[in-house]
Symmetry: C2
Subunit: 205 residues, 2 copies
Amino acid sequence: MNAEKIPDIIIGRLPVYLRALQHMADNGAKTTSSQELGDHVGISAAQIRKDISQFGEFGKQGTGYSIQFLIDKLREILKVNRIWDVVIVGAGDMGHALANYQGFIDRGFQVVAIFDNDKEKVGRKVGNFAIEDTDGMIERVKSAGVKIAMLTVPAPAAQEVAEKLVQSGVKAILNYAPITLNVPHNVKVQYIDPSTHLQRMTYYL
Amino acid sequence: MNAEKIPDIIIGRLPVYLRALQHMADNGAKTTSSQELGDHVGISAAQIRKDISQFGEFGKQGTGYSIQFLIDKLREILKVNRIWDVVIVGAGDMGHALANYQGFIDRGFQVVAIFDNDKEKVGRKVGNFAIEDTDGMIERVKSAGVKIAMLTVPAPAAQEVAEKLVQSGVKAILNYAPITLNVPHNVKVQYIDPSTHLQRMTYYL
């Protein structure tokens, strides 16, 4: 297995497979087929077999995939067979929603801090966290060794905050600000922008 | 132009191009090149030229693209040269964040109602909206002719609510619940699940 050679588009589908497999396991299922998994996630069985075969031989002809084995393998490949610390920057509505979101821990993540530059907000509680001042963010994130951040600041502030996060040693940013970030090549960015997702559907209406 | 033949993966990139072009126009730019646009969105210039050429001849050799012309064309293709009404189901943290989000109207969308099944919440204000009871949702959405919904209910409730939305005539669902929905083929679903996006990045860490 050569990690560098697996196309990004395949990597992008693996978390979706993992989520569906975990859902099956939660419902008590032990084995599945590429057909069944494909029906769950809306991807062809052939594509699923091809994607999974990139990582080795997981299924047996005729008996399908062991769900738990595949879950374990996918968690290992995606490096979520551990818990990653994550910080949130921006304590607005979206920051609050993410700080209170219960769905991270089962997927390999835990929020450890939330920052805002509004002095009025600093010290206020969001869930289990007291909002911290972005003034101390670089040192704080660096010393905690946090590699992942979720960015929920307004668009005009996003690039500057992203640069500070990069300085802090962050290597992965989940960006909720509706703007494309300019970061070094060794920093990954994923975008969550509801309007972009909505526009992708209006085409078909 | 034959809409049926354009691959979904290209359609998925068009809203990203549109967002970048609008950003350039907001900053006063008049023309751009596939190279510059590519740098903005992290996609190769060749891919951008190929994607855009699917819809006709928009650029002139040597002079690049007129930003406003391309914006107008993309808005027309994506059908966001109008404002679409959208409903939110689920008045938790995420529902609140979306109801208060200011970034929809410029991109072709406006929230017109928010529903929840918690009788305690019904009638409370979220931004400009009073939360409505999901009991009346099917009739309300049907009579308003709303085609787009954002789903922010807990995962165990999501499938049932999605079915009600389909009954109401909704054709596009932006699903924030971390579960794959089973809907008819003529209904589009897009997923926003922060854990999936995060897992896509941990692979590279």
